[in-house]
Amino acid sequence: MGDAEKLLRFETTVLLHLDAAYNLARWLTQDEFGAEDAVQDASLRALRFFDGQRGPNPKAWFMAIVRNASLDWLNERGRHGVTEQYDDDEHGNAGEAVATEGPEHAAIRRADARDLHICIAALPVDFREVIVLRELEELSYKEISAIVDVPIGTVMSRLARARDLLTQKMQSSLRKVKS
């Protein structure tokens, strides 16, 4: 396979999943530049090892490399546990959805979305990543197990635990608002 052909194949089978990879890196590093660094390192690494036949699931393969690069980035900076500031303006999803609602509704939805964001961001990395992979990327347990490199049983218990933690955090943030 020539270099040109290799690059083209890489773009159409692996880099096709750039958006999913970036979203994961951004949630893991909680940093705009960290995500870009991690995705770029991972892409160069992936291209180096890409042979055109990347098994049955190029997406899981690429996301696993991106995940590792994101964790490397965190380790280098000793930044586990640092939480990125939440920025309302950046929050596209909720803004779009509120366009047809009244201003009060919109404000409640924005506040809800902000709480949710803070609660997910505050989850330990092991739990945060399974929530992102399952709920935002809608991947199967098998794919998540390949990306995170743990047995399916562990994916199952981490997801259950992550959801318990997230529910607890949401409830306590609700209580704070009420009191």
């Binding site: 040109a4 690059l7 949630w27 929050h91 999803n93 709920e135 259950a160």
Partner: protein, 246 residues
């Protein structure tokens, strides 16, 4: 604790049929599990609806493509023009190319299914093409369609159920004029096709998949319907049932 994990796996559709049946039986008689299921469903909807999906910055995409191209040494004498174009092409173009490959493939045992999936992929590669009338209001979309075609597919507002109406366009299926009503679930597009098919008065919902896309088909009152998307099978089935509801 063990029960909670199994329950999560069941909600996620990850259990085999026999175990799933056991869980269903158990849940029917266990208020605690039923309450947990309701809690999980609410959480899942909330996360999928409101959690931020970070979009890749366009400038970063362009820079990354350039970096990758630079890392792949290409002999200057043999650099074909299409490589230059290919390397700097946007992602939409890459997807468009895939759609091209797709259509160029030999037809499989089910040409209709292939045609619908190909049409879905083609519509994704070109946002201009995807939607001709953009509106989240069913009362805008329906009259627009009625002015263009001689049949009236149902246009439903399913936003409360997590499927946002984006709009509609005219398309072709099986050499007939078809309507495509476009919905979004999170960042996934759903195309709901409808076209006239004499003799198809009532046909039950069928789910199948082709090349990574799910396809739900049914017929009603001389119209055939096909919903196609890359959302999960369970979500597509739910969508199809909602779209069918009288």
């Amino acid at each position: 604790m063990r029960m909670r994990q199994v329950l999560d796996a069941w909600i996620d559709g990850e259990l085999d049929r026999a175990t799933a049946a056991e869980i269903e039986q158990h849940i029917a008689a266990c208020p605690a599990c039923l309450a947990l299921k309701a809690e999980r469903d609410a959480l899942r909807l909330k996360v999928r609806d409101a959690a931020q999906y970070y979009a890749t910055p366009a400038a970063f995409k362009a820079a990354l493509h350039a970096r990758l191209a630079a890392r792949t040494p290409v002999r200057a004498t043999r650099t074909p023009g299409w490589l230059q174009a290919g390397v700097f092409a946007s992602f939409t173009a890459a997807i468009g190319l895939l759609a091209g490959l797709w259509i160029a493939r030999p037809p499989s045992e089910d040409p209709l299914r292939e045609q619908i999936v190909a049409s879905h992929v083609a519509s994704l590669s070109d946002t201009q093409r995807l939607i001709t009338v953009a509106s989240s209001d069913q009362h805008t979309v329906k009259p627009w369609l009625q002015g263009k075609i001689d049949f009236a597919p149902a246009v439903r507002d399913l936003s409360m159920q997590g499927y946002t109406l984006l709009g509609a366009r005219l398309d072709h299926v099986a050499d007939r004029q078809a309507t495509a009503i476009v919905y979004r679930m999170r960042n996934h597009v759903i195309n709901l096709y409808a076209w006239r098919a004499t003799g198809y008065n009532a046909e039950a919902l069928t789910l199948q998949s082709a090349r990574g896309f799910g396809l739900a088909t049914w017929a009603d009152g001389g119209l055939r319907y096909a919903a196609v998307s890359d959302i999960e099978r369970g979500d597509l089935e739910r969508f199809a049932r909602l779209a069918q509801a009288p």
